[in-house]
């Protein structure tokens, strides 16, 4: 028998990113209407096409209904009780990082995000988003030498309006779904990446999202364009302070890969998940989609989802170009009263397209973890292939693990394979490891990381190590 007390004795690691930064912010009134949207657009000095885009999305959003098909239960969100714009007050234009409010730098320092000069040695360029606004982007000059544009989306709207106008909303249309429409109407900031033809991005790009205020929602929008024969690896991390209230996070990410281009998008999501009683936590409703437009293009999603009270997220690939490739590697961990409904969509439209799905769900405590995925072979997807594997691990007899794969084929000359299994950490395995002198907690963590290895192997080096540690921390005290 596993000693329950032993488990309970293990000191529980508190959510270490739960602090609040005390900083002056520029917030607008709660509530959402056309004037609020106009105000956001005005504050950001946006061109007319963007305001029109926002208003159009808002009109559509008003007519839409919040989706209820996911296996999630949460109290109704009052969309008029949210602040749609909140930004730290700082000088209007910042020429160097030294001018950024030191409090902000300190915040990101605490989070382990290298913004200050001396920490820039790690070869990762960072765009840091605080509440709704991007506060700093590092390594810009170095990147611009290669022609890579990496900046906040508000800056891109000003400096590269042509690209924004051409691509914004082409992958996730403004009326795609309820949360995407809301985002299109009120998005405040996010990252913009443009990799020119033939360029392999010299370093990993990274965005770090931080929610600081408890009553404002975060609506960021990311757009990545990889021109012909270019490639980029993009990392995304997120944390939030601990509040008793639920904060809404509705983001949209759009990726576009042209001929022979490749985009790798990795996420470690660690929003505040609420306490053990399920009070507080982030409602994470995210629409992420990539379009493999060009021949032989490739989009790869890898994600480690450990935070959020509610996760509703289906990073997808539209495989249009001939021989394009879509990948999805995911680890979703839920503990206590967390709920996650996550998965992917692989839509095969072009011929000889290929996709791989590897999803690992771990549910502990009283949580609910569902995989929901769609694989569709269109009529023109001759010679296409898909392979999906969804494994769930249950820890304790209160958690639930569900698998809902939707598979649809209209093309006889294509192949779809799907498999799913459910397992648990068995006492035999634990006993074996413990008898070899391995501590109980370490044994559990070894087994979990073995279970997730297929996904961790796909993560960039520094993320993989972080993810491994994160899972071990999150699971502490949950095996009994």
């Amino acid at each position: 028998m596993v000693n329950e007390n032993l488990v309970k004795d293990v000191v529980k690691e508190p959510y270490k990113y739960g602090f609040v930064t005390d900083i002056d912010t520029d917030k607008i009134e709660k509530g959402l209407n056309e004037d609020v949207i106009k105000l956001i657009s005005q504050k950001k000095e946006e061109p007319k096409f963007l305001l029109d885009f926002r208003l159009k999305a808002f009109k559509k959003w008003q007519k839409m209904k919040e989706p209820d098909w996911a296996a999630l239960g949460y109290k109704k969100i009052d969309y008029q009780d949210i602040i749609y714009y909140s930004a730290p007050k700082q000088k209007e234009k910042i020429s160097s990082l030294d001018e950024v409010d030191p409090k902000l730098l300190e915040t990101f320092d605490k989070l382990g995000i290298p913004l200050t000069e001396q920490k820039k040695l790690t070869n990762v360029a960072v765009d840091a988003v605080f509440d709704s606004v991007s506060i700093a982007t590092t390594f810009r000059e170095e990147l611009s030498k290669h022609g890579v544009i990496f900046c906040s989306i508000s800056e891109a709207v000003k400096n590269h309006a042509d690209l924004i106008e051409k691509y914004l909303g082409t992958v996730v249309p403004d009326s795609d779904n309820y949360f995407a429409a809301l985002n299109s109407a009120v998005f405040s900031d996010g990252s913009f990446v443009y990799i020119p033809k033939g360029v392999t991005c010299p370093m990993d790009l990274s965005s770090y999202f931080r929610i600081n205020s408890g009553d404002s929602g975060q609506f960021e929008r990311t757009l990545i364009i990889a021109e012909e024969s270019s490639s980029v690896s993009y990392l995304e991390g997120c944390t939030a302070p601990m509040f008793d209230t639920n904060t809404l996070h509705a983001a949209v990410v759009e990726l576009i890969a042209l001929d022979d281009a490749s985009i790798k998008y990795s996420t470690v999501q660690n929003w505040y998940a609420g306490d053990e009683e399920g009070i507080g936590g982030i409602f994470n409703f995210v629409t992420k989609r990539g379009k493999c437009l060009g021949k032989r293009s490739k989009i790869s999603w890898s994600q480690v989802e450990t935070g959020s009270a509610i996760t509703w997220k289906y990073p997808s690939c539209l495989l249009l170009g001939e021989e394009s490739v879509g990948e999805f590697y995911s680890v979703a961990l839920t503990n206590n009263l967390q709920q996650a409904d996550t998965g992917t969509k692989m839509i095969h439209i072009g011929p000889k397209t290929k996709s791989t799905i590897v999803s690992k769900g771990i549910s502990a405590g009283k949580s609910k973890n569902s995989y929901r995925g769609l694989v569709k072979m269109g009529t023109k997807a001759t010679g296409s292939r898909n392979y999906s594997q969804c494994d769930s691990m249950l820890i304790g007899d209160q958690a639930s693990a569900n698998t809902f794969p939707y598979i649809k084929s209209q093309q006889p000359n294509s192949e779809i394979e799907h498999e799913a299994s459910t397992c648990r950490i068995s006492e035999d395995q634990l006993f074996y490891l413990q008898s070899r002198g391995i501590e109980f907690e370490e044994a559990v963590s070894m087994m979990v990381s073995g279970f997730c290895r297929d996904v961790f192997n796909q993560l960039p080096m520094e993320f993989a190590a972080e993810a491994d540690k994160l899972l071990a921390l999150k699971l502490e005290g949950s095996v009994g």
């Binding site: 098909w69 072979m377 009529t379 769930s392 249950l394 820890i395 304790g396 007899d397 209160q398 958690a399 639930s400 693990a401 569900n402 698998t403 809902f404 794969p405 939707y406 598979i407 649809k408 084929s409 209209q410 093309q411 006889p412 000359n413 294509s414 192949e415 779809i416 394979e417 799907h418 498999e419 799913a420 299994s421 459910t422 397992c423 648990r424």
Partner: protein, 405 residues
Amino acid sequence: MEIIEKIKTNTSDDNLTEIQKICLNKLQSSPLPNPKSELWRLSNKSKLSNFLDYTVNEKDSKFDIPYPKNSQSTIRLIIGENCQIKLIKKNYSIQQLSQDEIQKYIKEQISFFKQNENWSDLLNLSLSCKNNILGLKINGSKIPPIEIFSHASSNSLKAKTLVIFLEKNCDVELLQVNLGKENSSLSQSTFFCLKENSSVNHGVVSYGEKRSNLLNSLNVIQQKNSSYNLGSLHFRFNYARFEISIKQTAGNAKTNIKGMQITKKDEQISTYTKIEFNGPNGFLDQINKSLADDKSHAVFEGSIIVPKIAQKTDASQLSRNLLLSNFAQIDTKPQLEIIADDVKCKHGATISQLNEEELFYMRTRGITLTEASKLQLSSYFQEIISFIPISKDKWDLLDKLLHDD
């Protein structure tokens, strides 16, 4: 849709049984299933309304079913033809259930019904009159195989209901055959109750003629240590739905399901299964095969539900599909909903066409492409057909499938 109109208005008729009244009442507020619900969203709406277009004809016109020859050792029953059965032998007994017994059992089942999930049953029970309900209580062992027929004649809609109680320690082979005539609709609901230690090899073979429709639902309750084996085959229907619901009430039971559906032309055949484990040590092995050709559409949705109480459940589900034409469509959705942690649950799904390498191999040996495809198909079919009891040889099912145009 005359029937729907009738449902809306016709509840006070004195000729109706209590069950009919209850079901009509349940249907009245929303006589059709919600087309957006998960269980009905892929269902072809115009085909469903075509199903309901025929008039209900309670009396059966004489209908020659092309039965294979009856061997002396099988017991043959036809639902709707006033057959009185009371067989009491040394080893076994087969007796008709009384109206009270049937009503009591069905009423209990209805209390669990949900509008969309059990719409087919509600429709069946509200239309099916006393004469079209057959109830049997089977007891004993070494029982001769039983064949039960259900059919709909041309230009009519028939609703037939079958209730079977398998008593303790009983062991039986039972083949159910549902036949549809040209332009007909058949609604068949079957209620099976397997008591402790009983075991059944159940076969369901349904085939129609041009433009025949079928709503076939099967509700099985399995008590402790019972074993339920189902082999099913559905083909040649303009529109057919096969809904299986199996509940292992106290776990410790075994369920084996091997089903197949074949669609051609513009047909649509769907299979929906829901298996619930309400106790520990349950076992399930399920395979569902679909073949879709021409412009047809085959659907499979299977859900396995393992609540907290169902520890040590061992369940596997496999959906294998062959898509043979550019215009055909296959949808499949195997689902797992698990809370118990000490379980072994897995599912798999594949969609592909005939294996090219195997075809090539056979052709290099001088076998024509048509013959080689047939050989491959026959091996694909055989796994299911060999699992259907009684039928194997005398029904020539394989032959029917391979030469079916």
